[in-house]
Amino acid sequence: MTQRLAMLRILVFAYAAVWTVVRAPHLLDAIDLAPRRFDGIGPLWWLNEPAPALAIIAAVALTPIACGAAALGWRYRASSLTAVVGFLFLTTYRNSWGQIFHTENLAALHMGVLALVPAAAACWSMGKAERALHKTETDHEALSSAVLKALSVLTVGTYFLAGIAKLRISGFGWIDGDVLRHQIAFDNARKELLGDPKAPFGALMLRNSWTLAPAAIAAIVVELAAPLALVGRRIAWIWAGMAMVFHFAILAVMAIVFPYHLLGIALSPLLPIERLGTAVAGWHCRFRRRSMRLRSTG
């Protein structure tokens, strides 16, 4: 469990670092947007006008550095907290211009939990081991397990909420496929009218309208069944597979990218992701042994 938590720390904070760098041009675009369009939301509800340009530039510059340091476990308490504050500020600020995006919510929540727990930097870390904080190895495993459960609960909770929202807003009529048809058509039409590329398979799905009701049922089943993934590893694997198909389908028919989910990081608290770390460590050891052999024979 300690290794799984460490692997999650690496993946989540590395994702946030890369996201901030890749989206830096978009985040910096906000400096030139008309101030009248700004309306602070969430943690920035108190902000009535755009933040100074220097604050945006500083956040865009410092957040990936803090995220990178947190991923490496270097000065974890300070770096993880700075990373969370920076990432939350930038994503909230991005969402305060009239359109709330739903792609980074889970990453922000996962980072928040990981930053609360220094034990996340207990292994595969450049920092000093935090194990001294806890009396025994068993104790440490129990704590790691609790944190992993919290991260898993956040993952399945967001899917569950999305399913509930559909039922609360449109009722069970959502599954007849009409709502989905209109959503796909609207999203693609809007992209076309605003000079953005359309989804490659949107029109194909709309032409084959018999696919819409089964797709709607599948979508709502994935969302409402999410909490079952907490029951056991086998169910978690099955559900995670279905969730990945769900996100690739959204990408194909609506060209909407949920990068945190498509990369599988959103789902990784439910899976034995530590195997990735041990595999990398194993390759590293084999590589070192081989290069040492070559050096001694050369």
Partner: protein, 138 residues
């Protein structure tokens, strides 16, 4: 963080992530969202606000970057819709013109059309309402 509070972390996480259930589902925020994005039945006929460049041959569609200074089509769409709703189409038109160059002619407009027909057929009859026109050009 105390050990007992870490053990209760999954419970806190559940309460936190499910807390939006106490809000109206349409009342969205960040990061604790109600996730209402695909929940509403939008119908098939829509009024979509956009901005185009007028040319001798008709018009050319503009990118989100030119319309609203962003690479996000959704944000560009919301920007035009909001400007039309608040009677600020003229201001938006001038902002677009600033990005494109004064010798061009910009039109901020609403197109009413069947989005299913447009997506399936590739084109659809639309009714155009012009809210603002600015710049030189044709």
């Amino acid at each position: 963080m105390r050990r007992w509070s870490i053990r209760l972390l999954p419970v806190f996480a559940a309460l936190l992530v499910l807390s939006p259930l106490l809000r109206d589902p349409a009342s969205d925020t960040y990061p604790l969202s109600t996730y209402p994005m695909f929940a509403t039945d939008r119908g098939n006929v829509h009024r979509i606000a956009t901005a185009v460049e007028r040319t001798d041959d008709g018009f050319v569609r503009l990118s989100p970057k030119l319309i609203a200074g962003t690479d996000e089509a959704v944000l560009a769409s919301v920007t035009v819709t909001r400007a039309v709703r608040l009677g600020e189409a003229d201001i938006l038109c001038e902002e677009i013109l600033e990005r494109l160059g004064a010798d061009r002619q910009i039109e901020v407009r609403t197109e009413t059309l069947d989005v299913v027909v447009l997506s399936v057929e590739g084109s659809a009859d639309s009714t155009v309402t012009v809210h603002a026109r600015c710049g030189g050009g044709p």
